[in-house]
């Protein structure tokens, strides 16, 4: 039995799921998820399925629960002591909210990139090698390979290959963010969660990261939170629109942006509020 | 290299430590001795000297793992010997020099430079009734006498109390201190002060203090290395000073015994430098022989 989840399952009252895509398998399946910060409910009865090798965008106005949801997917949200959760999140079929589920295992399979680039105050090399090292890989040769591969994967190898031993804080904001992506790639995750990864970046860096995301989806499943509708439209396959902690609409990105079924979605993407 | 059984004079390198505490009177003598020993004889032996006072020192000497030597400005008491017996500690008395109990006054004090033995005793006796200098002699200033001395930790206090005052109460309000340096300082700054302590502390501070010349009946005698002697002019206030050796330690630790012998062999020389009167050569030789005798055992 789970202690993390409260078992007062609620009946789904809203939220329209996209037609199941039978060709691709489901990575994350969220069922009746509710989340409270103390007394305030931040997530209400969320039902969402994330598919393999797709980019899923999460959009919505500030405070609607986007970050909260994405942080629940790798249980990072538990770092806030007042959080209570009910419902289920199945990752590859297993309920990650279950008491017996090891978060560290989950997090080695689920990489995360944050809104503000947050490299460690270490060298570029050490930043990328951090994950493999804590998971026990010590062999210098293998580490070198991993670091190169990850930096290439994050499209930053050419810019930093000559200064791997310099401090990561010497990089520009955009480079730092790609370094953080490289750091996430270094443990070869299954899914990558990105919380507004470009909001602190200039337009050129943003473009680079967007291209990178397109590239990465070949190998990974990506969930990206963004406040930028254009970005969501450009790079994602599916889009979920959150409002006040609820999923108002979840559908193929094309559909959401061309023909939303909910009035509120339409209002939001046309810039009428938010 | 514990070449303990070789003759120390044979130049054997010794090491280890020698721990000495006790008399503050003897401290300058012993400190000098220790320094000479470590500079000239055995560089690798660590001799540490403290100055808790004779009585306080005996309390550290007569315990399990106590000090190796206890300096004393009075001879060991019966109860202290009994304590040693109880512990199974064999104690060897080393008489190292002679000291004269010296009474000192402030440099500005120009009236009490000579006093009779009786006057001094009355000044320090509770029953003496001498509160003001004018009580001592009418032509002295009418100012309160300030009496100073070492506290009860010290052999000097006990010598004063037992031998000079005849075990009668000392004046109320005598300012008794732990440190001789403090006494010297206090007297040098207090015009009406009179204090007692070993001659050595006067001898090294003649620029700050005046010694009272004592009239024992045959005219005033100035305390000095010459007059301080068991049959000298200052004999009344002369006392031997000692260092007591823990013989058990001396047998276990060659450096302790070696230091004891060194001390006796150089006693007269160091005594001279630190303001003590020397002992007769024969007396010294006898002690050295006794110590050498311990070596074989």
């Amino acid at each position: 039995m789970s202690v993390l989840t409260e078992n007062k399952k609620q009946v789904s009252t809203m939220g329209e799921s996209p037609v199941p895509d039978t060709k691709k398998s489901i990575v994350y399946d969220t069922k009746d998820l509710n989340l409270w910060y103390g007394e305030d409910q931040a997530l209400k009865n969320i039902n969402l399925s994330i598919y393999e090798n797709e980019v899923t965008a999460i959009i919505g106005p500030s405070g609607c629960g986007k970050s909260t949801y994405i942080k629940t997917l790798n249980r990072m949200v538990e770092m806030i002591p007042v959080v209570r959760i009910s419902g289920e999140i199945l990752y590859r079929g297993k309920n990650i909210l279950d008491k017996n589920f090891k978060v560290e295992d989950l997090r080695t399979k689920v990489g995360m990139v944050f809104q503000k680039p947050n490299p460690f105050p270490k060298s570029i090399f050490e930043n990328v090698a951090y994950g493999p090292k804590i998971h026990g890989i010590r062999d210098k040769k293998i580490l070198n390979e991993i670091v190169e591969k990850s930096l290439r994967g994050a499209a930053i190898w050419d810019e930093v290959k000559d200064r791997l031993n310099e401090n990561a804080y010497g990089l520009s904001g955009g480079q730092q963010q790609r370094l953080c992506i490289a750091r996430a790639l270094a443990i070869e995750p299954d899914v990558i969660l990105m919380d507004e990864p470009t909001s602190a970046l200039d337009p050129i860096s943003t473009l680079k990261v967007e291209e990178l995301v397109q590239e990465l989806k070949k190998d990974f499943s990506i969930i990206i939170v963004t406040h930028n509708m254009q970005q969501a439209a450009r790079i994602s396959d599916k889009t979920a629109f959150f409002l006040s902690g609820e999923v108002v609409e979840f559908a193929d990105t094309n559909k959401i942006f061309s023909n939303p079924s909910d009035k509120r979605t339409e209002d939001y993407i046309t810039g009428r509020f938010g | 290299a514990c070449g303990g059984n070789d003759s120390p004079e044979g130049g054997a390198e010794l090491e280890g430590s020698v721990v000495i505490d006790g008399s503050g009177t003897v401290y300058p003598f012993m400190a000098k001795m220790a320094e000479n020993y470590m500079t000239n004889a055995q560089e690798n032996v660590s001799v540490e000297v403290s100055r808790a006072g004779t009585s306080a020192g005996f309390q550290k000497f007569l315990v399990e793992d106590g000090t190796d030597f206890n300096n004393a400005s009075r001879s060991i008491k019966e109860e202290e010997l009994a304590k040693a017996e109880e512990l199974g500690t064999e104690v060897q008395e080393l008489k190292v020099a002679l000291d004269g109990l010296t009474f000192v006054i402030n440099k500005e004090n120009d009236w009490a430079t000579e006093l009779t033995q009786q006057e001094i005793i009355e000044i320090f006796l509770a029953s003496g009734g001498k509160q003001k200098w004018s009580d001592v002699r009418p032509d002295f200033p009418e100012e309160e006498i300030k009496t100073y001395g070492p506290n009860e930790n010290h052999g000097t206090y006990e010598f004063m109390f037992e031998n000079i005052l005849g075990e009668q109460d000392m004046v109320e309000g005598a300012n008794l201190q732990q440190d001789y340096s403090v006494l010297v300082d206090l007297v040098s700054k207090d015009k009406n002060a009179i204090a007692f302590f070993g001659y050595g502390y006067y001898a090294s501070n003649t620029d700050k203090l005046t010694a009272v010349n004592v009239d024992f009946g045959n005219g005033p005698v100035e305390p000095s290395v010459e007059t301080i002697a068991e049959d000298g002019e200052y004999a009344e206030f002369t006392r031997p000073v000692f260092s007591y050796l823990n013989v058990n330690h001396a047998k276990e630790k060659p450096q302790v015994l070696d230091y004891a012998i060194y001390t006796m062999e150089n006693a007269n020389e160091v005594a001279q430098e630190t303001g003590f009167a020397p002992l007769p050569e024969e007396e010294i030789q006898a002690t050295v022989d006794t110590l050498n005798g311990l070596k074989g055992e």
């Binding site: 997090r107 994950g131 | 320094e35 403290s50 700050k208």
Partner: protein, 294 residues
């Protein structure tokens, strides 16, 4: 009806402003008082001691003769003492700080620890001396050797290290921890690999400040017993020892006997102040050099 008479107010304004100026000068004077004392103190020590500092004074062993006396013994004693205090107090201080900041749940236990540390910081140093005498010198029968003195001192400065380490750890931004957890790192891995390296400058600064407090402490070591005359140089933490402040203490006391001892004390004070100055400069340097960039 008017209550506030403008003329009255204006008339009084002059004296009120004058009072303000007067008070300001007084406050400035009070502030400068500390500065003046500092200048006098340093001037006096310099005047009495500077002429006595030379190579021999630093490298010679202790002696009863002022001309020959040196402070090598006290310097080495201080050095060995710090060699005990630094690691012990670092280990205990940082360990405690990590526990309180990263592991302990907010609540009774944590506030008990916190209150205890605040109180410990206020316990007079002689009382620590007595603790050291009873527990280390006598209880564990170490005798008055460097190790016993070092352990006593380590406990004495422990609160300083704990508090500064706590501050340093608290200053590590949460997002660095999140980054590490996000890679699947465990709590201890995160602390070891991210939190500690990022807080090390703060911890070091705090430790140096604690050590400079320890270097100047006299009372606890006098209480655990340091001989008035100890000539040989200590070779390690199991030797008997003396330290700079204790040397100053005995020389000041005995300056009544040998007036040059006062100069020796002053010279030793200069050396001690120099050591403190260097240590604090290093602390400031570390603080500036590693000023957090996150």
């Amino acid at each position: 009806m008017k209550y506030v008479d403008n003329n009255q107010v204006q008339k009084k304004m002059g004296s009120r402003l004058f009072l303000n100026m007067l008070a300001k000068s007084l406050f400035l004077l009070a502030t400068l008082f500390g500065l003046i004392v500092l200048v006098i103190l340093i001037y006096r020590v310099f005047r009495d001691g500077a002429g006595w500092i030379n190579f021999d004074f630093i490298t010679n062993k202790l002696s009863t003769e002022p001309e020959r006396a040196g402070i090598m013994g006290a310097i080495l004693g201080t050095f060995w003492l710090m060699l005990v205090v630094a690691p012990v107090t670092m280990l205990l201080g940082v360990g405690t700080a990590i526990y309180l900041e990263e592991y302990a749940k907010k609540g009774r236990l944590q506030s008990l620890f916190q209150t205890n540390i605040a109180n410990l910081a206020g316990v007079p140093s002689v009382v620590f001396g007595l603790l050291g005498l009873t527990v280390f010198v006598r209880g564990l029968d170490l005798g008055n050797i460097v190790l016993a003195g070092g352990l006593t001192m380590a406990l004495l400065v422990l609160p300083v290290v704990v508090v500064s380490a706590q501050e340093a750890i608290r200053a590590v931004p949460q997002f660095l921890r999140e980054a590490s957890y996000g890679m699947g790192a465990t709590k201890w891995q995160t602390i070891k690999n991210v939190v500690l390296p990022a807080s090390i400058p703060g911890i070091l600064t705090g430790t140096i400040l604690a050590l400079s407090r320890a270097i100047g402490e006299t009372a606890p070591l006098v209480v655990i017993g340091i001989p008035a005359l100890l000539i040989p140089l200590p070779d390690g933490i199991f030797d008997k020892f003396t330290i700079l402040p204790v040397q100053i203490y005995y020389w000041t006391l005995d300056s009544a006997l040998v007036s040059e001892y006062m100069n020796l004390a002053a010279a030793t004070i200069l050396i001690l102040l120099l050591v403190l100055f260097i240590m604090n400069s290093i602390a400031i340097l570390i603080r500036n050099k590693f000023q957090r960039r996150f």
